[in-house]
């Protein structure tokens, strides 16, 4: 065996080597974190992830039973309520997570993509929730859809994104947008693992200037 290892010929080996170089196992699944993480303010990211897991779990059950199920069964109503309140908590924790990271200037130290992926995830999650509100199949969803129609049409994308089309909105809600949200969240978490948690702002910046 030669001292210099030649480049692997197969693309799978090259992808594997690049993945391990970018994300060594000890960085992907660390068993300790910096001391400055000993604060409750660092917990909202994982609370957002927990909410997302409940959203997906309850959403899968609702999807398996169909969009009308929650109207005529108590169990369906229960899972619909779980789904709704998990969404409320998801946005509650996401917004606090964004506030915390904004005031930490969490894009420092080559973490711009981490910050941007989190912000974009929030922006994509908003229409993901809105398409759920117009998929309720009740008077509330009809009211929301007819109001949203005028707003969407004023942007010029009403021909492609028709909020009065239940089938289209339901597909966006249960497939297209959730896949995008989960993919963005995965990318965000991997970027956090790769670059680490942003350290606190240096105290030197807070001292008054000396003459």
């Amino acid at each position: 065996m030669s001292a210099h290892r030649s480049a692997p010929s197969s693309w799978t080996a090259r992808v594997r080597d690049a993945a391990v170089r970018a994300m060594p196992p000890e960085r992907l699944l660390p068993d300790e974190q910096p001391a400055y993480m000993s604060s409750w303010v660092y917990i909202f990211g994982v609370l957002t992830l927990a909410s997302l897991a409940v959203i997906i779990g309850s959403g899968v059950i609702l999807g398996l039973k169909g969009p009308a199920w929650w109207h005529y069964t108590g169990v369906g109503h229960f899972f619909n309520s779980i789904h709704l309140w998990a969404v409320e908590l998801f946005f509650f924790f996401t917004v606090i997570h964004l506030w915390a990271k904004f005031f930490m200037a969490a894009w420092r130290g080559g973490r711009a993509r981490t910050w941007a992926s989190g912000a974009v995830t929030f922006l994509v999650a908003v229409p993901c929730a809105f398409t759920g509100y117009v998929s309720q199949q009740n008077f509330d969803s009809q009211w929301i859809a007819t109001q949203a129609k005028d707003g969407i049409n004023s942007t010029g994308i009403g021909a492609f994104f028709n909020v009065l089309n239940f089938g289209q909105m339901y597909t966006y809600h249960v497939l297209l947008l959730p896949v995008l949200v989960v993919a963005l969240v995965l990318a965000h978490v991997l970027l956090v693992r790769r670059h680490g948690i942003v350290p606190p702002l240096p105290l030197a910046d807070l001292r008054p200037p000396t003459s």
Binding site: S38, S39, W40, V41, E88, F92, W99, A100
Partner: protein, 67 residues
């Protein structure tokens, strides 16, 4: 009134009695600013939780428990 005797219905009545939601939403309106009271309550709660997360001490391991 027979339905009210079941525990499930009674719990619903008691919960509903805490906050009367059987009316159109209340709004705060000042000039260009308009927002429902429920949304303002949620935003206020987020500010309170954010401030509490910064202010409240996080449980640390004692020195002798550390590796």
């Amino acid at each position: 009134m027979a339905a009210l005797r079941s525990p499930r219905s009674l719990a619903g009545v008691l919960l509903a009695a805490l906050v009367n939601l059987n009316h159109p939403a209340s709004y705060v309106h000042a000039g260009f600013f308009q927002m429902s009271v429920s949304n303002l309550v949620v935003i206020g709660l987020m500010v309170v939780v954010f401030a509490a997360a910064i202010a409240l001490p996080f449980r640390r391991r004692h020195e002798d428990e550390q590796r």
